[in-house]
Amino acid sequence: MRRWACSLLVGLLAMLVLPRPGWADNGPHEGTFTKTTDACAQCHRAHRGQGPGLLAGDLVTTQQARVLIDTSQINLCFSCHGSAATGADTNVEDGIYMNRASGGQFGVPGAGLRGGGFVNALMDPDFTGTPTAAPVTSKHDVGVPGMIVWGLGSSGVGHVTSSQRATLQCSSCHNPHGFANADRYRILRDDLPCAGCHDIQQQKGRLSQASMPTDATHQLAARLNTAIPDERPPYYTIRYTPDGYRDVSYLDERISEWCAGCHTRYLATGTDPSGDAVFAYRHRTTAQELTCLVCHVAHGTTATMGRFSGDVEWPDGTPGGGTTDSRLLHVSNRGVCYPCHPAP
């Protein structure tokens, strides 16, 4: 009996300790490249690439500062993750998981993805009890050149400037190649503090801790921990608590540091004045119950705004956009405040 128990223990330890091959978040992205891998040629052309990342399908070759690769990358991703999900179960265009649960791991068939969607999303921002598919009211604009990155840079740099604009790509946040020996939540990049601003492919071999500038932005970036481990077992779809809110208990506290790879000035450990003219007082974002994703979704939301919330101006003073200016909040109006700040 003891021998059996020891064998079992050794086996379990070996499973935990030994490096094991694994697909990135169970996706088609190779996590186990080998010396004879065939996978590169599926998306890349060594001598005939149409984009800076040598992607096979990119047309626009204009590489902008701070941009990883060009503006049509999303077309490649939508070849599998689009509304028809012809090569994946995660339809990020509609924010829907397109398959059945498997052992309770992967989510309810046809349920909404946690991140919402880029065109439509299946959510329940008004607590109707029934998630409804509808066009999104706000989203992270992927592939659109020159989008403002709110909060990019260190505190005190003043208002938004041209250097705080970027073209967001799918691979700005996700590592399409997966991770060979590590599970990362949604294959999120763990080099985001650098990749958020720099073309990693171009800078490879030239970036090092020793050569890193000593300004506050780079020092903060160096401190951020953006290696977000995957949850086990993985679960893709929104789960709701009995009171109708999203269950966010799965969230890792470090997800706020991950978001701060771009939205640096929003990262706040307390409510003391930051000394920043624009973001002077900030909601705390560094506790598990206060991560960015407690209030926001990553891709797009169907929430709608009311008279006050729709008119809130943007950090650069631009007037709010009205009912559709939902700013990736997952509850309509300012309902995200209510769970922690209920009416007296």
């Binding site: 096979a56 077309n75 490649l76 398959n99 068939p109 598919a133 509808a134």
Partner: protein, 338 residues
Amino acid sequence: MSDKVKGPERSAISNTRQRKWARRRLIALGALFLLLVLVAGLWAYYLRTRKPLSAALPPAPAVAQAFKPHYLFSIYGVDRPLGIALSPDGRYIYVTESAGERLIKVFDREGQFIRSFAVPDTRPAERAPVYVAVDSYGRVYVTDRRRFALYVFDADGNLLRVFSPPQGEEFWTPLGVNVVNDEILVTEVTREQHRVMVFDLEGRLKTVFGREGRENGEFWFPNAVVRDEEGNFYVSDGNNGRLQVLDPEGNFLYALRGLNLPRGLAIDTEKRLFLVDAVAHQVRVFSLASQPIVALYEFGDIGMGDGEFRYPNDIAVDLTGRLYITDRENNRIQVWSY
């Protein structure tokens, strides 16, 4: 005077004639015998050295197969089209959209819009038509990934029925659909059981094979399946980047690897297999005149000009040699011809 031949002379003449006839019969019999020997010899030679005609002579389709098609025109007015199929007489083109209103649109072969339809009582965000096929009666089969369903419409777009999951299964995820010889070929991508299913026109399951994986005979998001005259299956094994060939029972025969993202398939009357490679932005053409099949050529390249593709997805071919290809990111259907 000479009309009257006497008895002995007459007898001599008769004998001479008989000898001549006998000699002629002998010669004829000898010739027949020689002919028989010759035929027997040739037959024996044929039996010893016989070869299939296709091996002895170039196959008839090879002449036609050598030519590449040329671009004709494009049909616009579709929003990120994915699947495409033709009516039995080739007069109408059915196309599925993956953006905008997400309709099934019908055009005539000159590109004139005829009508559109969708799954009844659904909004665009609630549907995702993917692939389309038409049977010999003109009924239109549409897979809807969002609704986990295979719908059957009449030619005018009226919903006739919804295919149910196979008996004993509560859930399925049909993706690709084709109708070949009154059989409905479906690729199904429920997690862990990516497979090919064959139904009769009444919806009875006849054959099923495959499962999710990377090994031979396994699939990873198979997008299309077609059959040749011998009944072999050709499956575009999307995420595995290969075309798998299986015998009529669904047993793995061989695979053509190194494809980028194989999607739509079609076979024409000249024994050509057309494979749409979405990420290569090309249509790859193979000859089915022999096994294993042989790559002939590919056509198309990335771009927005005439004859250029941006993420093509599916193909249909008519009896006149016209090819209809959905050009997803260019929001059009390209028409090519031989």
